[in-house]
Structures are given as structure tokens and as C-alpha cells.
């Protein structure tokens, strides 16, 4: 059986005015199917770069990345994934239902399945009554939810979320938690980056912590965090030990 995510010795760098920026250095991450995996790190640690590599937007200098055994550079690798960007934007001139229909067509789903899935997702995300309104008139939380529904239209085996709770109110965060829990219950994989460590602690089976492009800790949450501690304290300790300049 293939790993949901298989990253081996991945390095990515960018040319910058101040010299080369090493966004990822020799990163190796393996995510088994059915896992809820938290991908953590301070700003600039390389989390979004990793996600960009997984989505095929970013080329690696060296190393490999595969989704369910397929190289991320192949379009087919994205057949089984759903993705929700940080601060997602979408086509404001479409209605919620049209957006989901468009997304379903891009996954080559049959029309009847698109209709059923769209109705189901609109119900689940609490957008059924606004389904035929243009997204331009949606609130920020509603936009986040329609983008989440779009990411789930193909019932993905792997859901990649980049800071999914950023800027959401407590109810919005609860919705995201519920969706993650439902995906886990259905045996699907969720890979998400977040700064909300309490959310991560609640939702994740395993976590990886990145700092300055390097993996500095990885494992099940209960093994990393000592009894009486919490993930936030562990995170701060791990990051400041690995990169002393991050120490307050």
C-alpha cells in the first residue's frame, strides 16, 4: 500500500536579492493513509513551500515527493486530493452551487454525482440557503466554507489544509474541526499546517515540526508531549533549541 504522502530528502531554494533562500533542507516526511497529520513551524519555516511542492507548483532542487505513489509533478497525482488555501479566494461572480459544479467537472465527476455531492456539501457547510447567491455577497466565514466544500467535492482521499482556521471565529473553527474528524472517521488522510496548536493537539495523530526548512521533531502527539505538558510548550522548546535566534 502506498503512503498518502511520501517526501524524501526534499530541498528547495529560491534566488532572492540577499542571496539564495533555502526554504527546505533535506526534508523527509511519510504520512500513512488514514492519518490526521499536523505540519507545524514558525513563520518562514517552509510549511507552505512543502504544500506548494505537494501540489506541483514548486520544483524541488533535490529529493522526491509522491502522493499515493504518484510523483507530484504528474497531474493525475491530484485526482485524489482536496486543497484549501490559507485565505482562500474564489470566483466571486459564481454562485456557491456553480462553483461546486465547476470544481466537480474539473475532477471529471458524472453530472448526477456532482449534483448529489454539491447538495450534500452545501448542507454540511450550512450554505444550502445561500447556494444560489453569488459568492461576492458571502461573508468571510461563508467564503471559507464554500472553499472547503469545493475542496471536498471529489471526496478526496487526502485533504491538504493550509492554515484552515486562520481568521475564523470560534464557530468557524468548530466547523473545520468537525470536518477533519469526519474525514478521519471515513478513513481519509488530512494534512494540515496551522499555528493553532491547541487545535492541532486535539485533531492530530502525528505532527511534524519544521524550523528554517529542517525537520526538528516528528511523531505521535502523545509521544512528543510529556505528561503535564502541552503541544505549545513542546513546540516553543523544540524551535528555540533548534534555532536559538528564535528565543524570545
Amino acid at each position: 500500500m502506498f503512503l498518502a504522502i511520501d517526501i524524501q530528502n526534499l530541498s528547495v531554494s529560491f534566488p532572492a536579492p540577499t542571496g539564495t533562500v533555502h526554504a527546505l533542507r533535506d526534508l523527509t516526511v511519510a504520512v500513512a493513509p488514514g492519518t490526521v497529520y499536523g505540519f507545524l513551524g514558525p513563520n518562514g519555516a517552509g510549511k507552505t513551500t512543502t504544500i506548494q511542492v505537494l501540489l506541483g507548483f514548486q520544483n524541488a532542487d533535490q529529493g522526491t515527493a509522491r502522493l499515493f505513489g504518484k510523483p507530484v509533478t504528474e497531474t493525475i497525482a491530484r485526482e485524489k486530493i482536496g486543497y484549501l488555501a490559507e485565505n482562500p479566494d474564489t470566483y466571486n461572480f459564481l454562485t456557491g452551487r456553480e462553483l461546486l459544479t465547476m470544481a466537480g467537472r474539473l475532477f471529471n465527476l458524472p453530472a448526477s454525482e456532482i449534483k448529489t455531492r454539491a447538495n450534500q456539501l452545501l448542507e454540511e457547510t450550512g450554505l444550502a440557503s445561500a447556494a444560489d447567491r453569488r459568492i461576492a455577497g458571502y461573508s468571510r466565514g461563508m467564503r471559507q466554507r464554500i472553499c472547503m466544500a469545493q475542496a471536498l467535492i471529489n471526496d478526496p482521499d487526502l485533504l491538504i489544509l493550509d492554515e484552515p482556521t486562520g481568521g475564523l471565529d470560534p464557530l468557524g473553527r468548530m466547523d473545520i474541526r468537525r470536518i477533519i474528524a469526519e474525514r478521519k472517521k471515513a478513513g481519509k488522510t488530512v494534512f494540515f499546517s496551522s499555528h493553532e496548536l491547541s487545535e492541532v493537539e486535539l485533531a492530530c495523530d502525528r505532527v511534524a515540526i519544521l524550523s528554517q526548512g529542517r525537520l526538528i521533531a516528528e511523531g505521535p502527539v502523545h509521544e512528543l508531549v510529556a505528561p503535564g505538558e502541552n503541544l505549545e510548550r513542546y513546540f516553543i522548546k523544540a524551535v528555540t533549541t533548534a534555532t536559538p535566534e528564535k528565543r524570545p
Partner: protein
Amino acid sequence: MSKIITIAGVVWLDMVRRKELSVLLILLATLLAALLSFDVFGLSQVTGYVKDMGLLAVWVLSWILAINTAVRQLPQEEQRGTLIPLLAKPVSRLTLILGKWLGAWSITCLSLLCFYLTVWLAVWIKGGTFNLVTLLQAILLHAAALALISSLAVAFSTRLNRDAATVTTYLVTSAAFLLLPRIPAMLVEAKGAASYTLFTLYYLFPHFELFDLRRRLVHDWGSANWVTLAEILFYAMLMTLVFLSLAWLGYRKRRFSRGDIL
């Protein structure tokens, strides 16, 4: 193919919902009013002038529409932040380019039909007529020219920002329209490097003059040879494929949102 049509459909919805087609209606009304009020030196009944001016206006307006519609498609996706969620689906960059080009070209073709209909109406009101077969041939060739122009605009927009791509497409297409037919005459006098340069430009740039049947329509010369027409359509298809391939080459390895990555 269904993914390409889906992306083209989004281009259509974008144009319709943003009421950009209302610009077309304004242009059509202006064109009709201008043609009907055309009365220089008391020649209002000479329909040849109406045809000539009307067809010139159709070429200019469709040229502007084709470039402005096609050139903004890809940069617009990046600017509004919808590109990454789109490419995170199983949509290849080639599919995206083809979908955007098809959407832009098809909407320009619809406008083209409306423009020709308006000119036909104006000529009819003035008591004139067009040879319908020649008119059909002219529309076919004009649509093929717009396919080529749209592909060129898309190709430039893969590597340049929207404004730069717009200006470059205008410059290249203007040069092709105005200068290319004169190159054979210039070649007679040119020598050395200038001669090679002109020769290269002649074969490198698209020959838009091949698609222009205006004089045939204005002077009622009758329809063009269908074999020649088919050859020109094949040339248009080939050149469009070349420019779309260049667009894909320019876009396939392109990095996005550098600022957001770190």
C-alpha cells in the same frame, strides 16, 4: 476536453456576470449609428462607402476586443488568487491555457458575428447588399485571424504582466498587419543583415493580410476559391497551435506567488 470547456465556460460567465458584454452593445449601437449617419460629400446612398467603413470598424473593434479579452485571462487568475486552487485540481497548465484561450476566442467570435450583423443591417437599410457566400467566407477567415491573435495574446501573458503583454500584442499584431505586406517590396532594395532580418520577419510573423476579404466584399468580386480558403484556415490553425505551444512552454515551469511561499 470537458475540462477545457469548463474553464472556457467560467470565462463566459465572468464576462456576462461582470456586464462586460454591455460594452459590446454600446459599440454595436455606436457602429450602427455612425454607419447610418455616414454622409460625406452627399454620398450617403453609395453603399460601398458604408461597407468599407463598416468592415474597417469591425476589424479594428474585433482586434481590440480579441487582445483585451485574451491577454488578461491568466494574469487575472493570479491576481485574484484563484489560480492555485484551480491548479491544485487535476488540471494541467496546458488545459488551463487551452480553456482560457477557447473562452476568450469564442466570446470574441460571438462579438464578431454581432458586428457583421450590424454592418449588414446598416448596408441593408441603405439599400445595399452583400454576397452572402463571400460574407460567410469573410467571417470564417476573420474568426480564424482572431484565433491567432488570441493565442498570441495568451502566449505573451504567460511571461509578461497584463499591461506589458497587452502593449506587446498590439505592437506585434500592428506590425504584422501594416508592415508585413510591404516586406517583399523592401527586400528588393535591402542588402546584407537587413535583408536577412526582413526575410526572417516575413516568415516569423503571422500574415493577417491573408484573412482580409474586405475588398472582395466592398467591390462585390464574388467568393474566394474554397481550396485557397481551406489552406488559409489550415495556416491559421497551425500558427495558433504554434503560439499556444509557446504559451505552454512559457507557463509549464512558471513559479507562482513567490511572496506567499515563505
